[in-house]
Amino acid sequence: MNKQEQEKKSFFFYPFLATFIIMFGVWVLLSGKFDLFHISLGLISCAIVSYLSADLLFPSPKIGGLLGQWARFVRYIPWLMIEIMKANLHVTYLVFHPRMMELIDPRIVKFQSKLTSDLALVTFANSITLTPGTITVDVSLDGDFKVHAIDKASGDPLPGEMEARISKAFGED
């Protein structure tokens, strides 16, 4: 307990600042009013949120390298989008196929991912869920994945290219 309390007491300046900046960006986006009054309200609000929740957004005080990570992550998104489109078309095909029941063949696929950080694992899991015919059922902290696949074609390629791209995005090669 002592240790945790100590941690809590020491003020993490960088996470606070980073949160503050992000929040302020969001505030400007939401607010759309740029007079002094609203901006100052925004500053106060952002300070409050940063104070309350900086440790949620950045659980560890070290935030160096995050910027680069995010930049790479943005590059990952278009690829994901395309994948999602393909996936959805596939599912739509299944849905509207008159003999759908014969096409689908649900199964649980298990595999071990080599990703380590929480964020990467979660991104991977969510990407899996968004992409064709697969839904993440369970992820353990060690990277054990359980995936529900709608048919054989969807389940087979895992972990595949996606994992590679994500590990690249999060710098975990």
Binding site: L29, T129, L130, I135
Partner: protein, 107 residues
């Protein structure tokens, strides 16, 4: 411009339709989650993009921000929807619901 908007919108609605029909047709809870979780998300994405574009018709800073907010919704849903899907499927697993396999009755 309107045509592009309509295109996006109709595409979105198409996926929505897929989602709805999928929920009805698929045999079990796990497979129903596929259309529900994915098609709806994409449908939302497409249609909201279309609407955001439409909103930019009369261009102004306000309109831009509004469109940005619409996109923000999309971003949010993209984070939240798979999580929700996962939460539901997780609940199913914990509840002890066995997945449907080929050849069984519809449930």
């Amino acid at each position: 411009m309107d045509i592009i908007v309509c295109l996006f919108l109709f595409a979105g609605l198409f996926f929505f339709t897929g989602g709805a029909v999928g929920i009805l047709r698929f045999p079990d809870f796990y497979s129903r989650l596929h259309p529900a979780g994915k098609l709806d998300t994409l449908g939302l994405l497409l249609s909201l993009i279309g609407l955001a574009l439409f909103n930019l018709h009369h261009f102004s800073l306000g309109a831009l921000l509004t469109s940005a907010k619409i996109i923000l919704i999309v971003v949010f849903v993209f984070l939240a929807s798979p999580t929700a899907t996962h939460a539901i499927v997780d609940a199913g697993v914990r509840a002890g619901l066995a997945p449907w396999t080929k050849g069984e009755e519809r449930r």
